[in-house]
Each structure stands twice: as C-alpha cells, then as structure tokens.
C-alpha cells in the first residue's frame, strides 16, 4: 500500500511487477493511467502544469487508499501522481489495485480515482499554444460536476 507524489515519470509495467512480486494470492490486477490530452475546450495546449499541496496531498491519498482497503479485499494498491509541468501525452496518474478476484480490483480502482479527483489537492493549469511563450500563462481547469456525481454511488 504505497502512495507517491513526484515529478518523475513512472513505468506501469515495473510498478505492477514490484507490487505483485511474491504474492500468489493475487489473481487480478487493475491499472488506471491518466494522461495529458493535447487539446482543451479552447483548442490545442502545449503544456499542463499541476500544482499540489505538499503534505496534505500525501495524507489525503493515504486516507483514500485506507478507505479502499477497508472496503475491498485488496492484496496491494499503488497510487502515483505527478506534479509540475507536463506535456501532451505524458502520464499524470497511476492507480493499481490487486486482489484475488477481478470485481474487487475493478471497483477499488474506480473508487480510488473517483475519490482522488474530488479530494486530492491538485490543480491543473493548461497553457494554450498561443500563450506558450509567456511564463506562468494559462487557464486553470474548472472542476467538473461529473466528478462530484461520480462519488454518489460510493456513499453508504
């Protein structure tokens, strides 16, 4: 059960291998990878910058992970979230869940992403092509209502 907030990229295959190593109880591994789209509502973007709240981010991700572990029979989980300046196509986030059976792994991965998107203190700023030469220029991404409603099904 590990959480990592970093600027560096991650290697999904290597993360799965290290997570499942020496655990033959695992029969299902689900991964979700979020990546930077090359276009936003206003058109093409050249970069996306992620800001976060050091300290709270790690704490909040650990809370979310602990909640998933309490709800589903998980053998292993991994959350990696990047911050800083990223380019279209770059990895942003990786969630891995491993369990004896697929249902728990699928559900827990969705739960982790739904909670991460509404609770983890990250903010995205998109820099459109026409502003790419200006330092710090860009538009803060608005939070989507769909993210809030995605949480509803996990309420109990």
């Amino acid at each position: 059960m590990t959480v990592c907030v970093q600027t560096e990229d991650f290697d999904t295959g290597r993360e799965i291998a290290s997570l499942t190593k020496n655990n033959t109880n695992i029969g299902a591994v689900v991964t979700f990878t979020g990546t930077v789209r090359g276009h936003a509502e206003g058109g093409a973007i050249t970069s996306m910058t992620l800001e976060h709240y050091p300290g709270m981010t790690e704490t909040e991700l650990q809370r979310i992970e602990a909640e998933a572990v309490a709800r589903w029979p998980l053998d292993a989980t991994r959350i990696i979230h990047r911050y800083g300046e990223l380019a279209p196509g770059d990895n942003i986030v990786l969630v891995i869940t491993a369990s004896a059976h697929r249902k728990a792994a699928f559900e827990a991965a969705e739960f982790l992403m739904d909670y991460l998107k509404t609770r983890a203190p990250f903010w995205k700023k998109e820099t459109p092509a026409e502003l790419s030469s200006e330092q710090g220029a860009g538009h803060w991404v608005d939070a989507g209502d769909a993210d809030d409603s995605a949480l509803e099904r996990w309420k109990r």
Partner: protein, 91 residues
C-alpha cells in the same frame, strides 16, 4: 492592549487563489472575533483588493484546516494551518 495577542496562523493559498492574492502563504494573527472558516474568508475579503478579488465568490472556495478538508461553518479553533483553494482538479 487588554487581551493577549492572538496566536498567528499560517494561511496557504493555491492555484488561482494564490495568483490573485500574489503570494503562496503568510502568517496572520486573526482577531478573536473570527471563529469559523466563513468568518475568516469574510475578514480576508476586507484586507485589500487582491483579497476581495480572490474571495469574491466564497461559495467556490474550498478550505483545509491542518491539512484536512473542512466546510465553511467549521471552527478555526486549534488551526495551525488554514489553506484556501479552488475545487481540486487532479487525476
């Protein structure tokens, strides 16, 4: 001064809240009359035009006290660190 100076609290600002205020954090001694998150925001609004701009729509401002999400009616008693930010957009 008849009462002890209030203890300073660290305020943190993120994303466009930080940009509008023009700084990422500051230490402020809040008056004793300010008791909740909503009252803190109202007090900050009056500090200057940059604060008024950053907090012009208090209903979209999210708050964390000591690195835990809280609602606008939460008490700030015991707060060492209060962070103000827009709704989060990670993932």
């Amino acid at each position: 001064m008849t009462t002890a100076d209030p203890k300073p609290v660290k305020l943190l600002y993120f994303a466009w809240v930080r940009e509008k205020i023009g700084k990422p954090s500051e230490e402020i001694a809040l008056p004793a009359t300010v008791k909740t998150v909503a009252e803190t925001i109202a007090w900050l609004q009056a500090r200057g035009p940059e604060y008024a701009d950053a907090f012009s729509r208090p209903q979209v401002i999210r708050t964390a006290i000591n690195q835990t999400h809280v609602k606008a009616d939460a008490t700030i008693a015991g707060a060492r660190e209060i962070a103000f930010f827009p709704p989060v957009t990670g993932g």
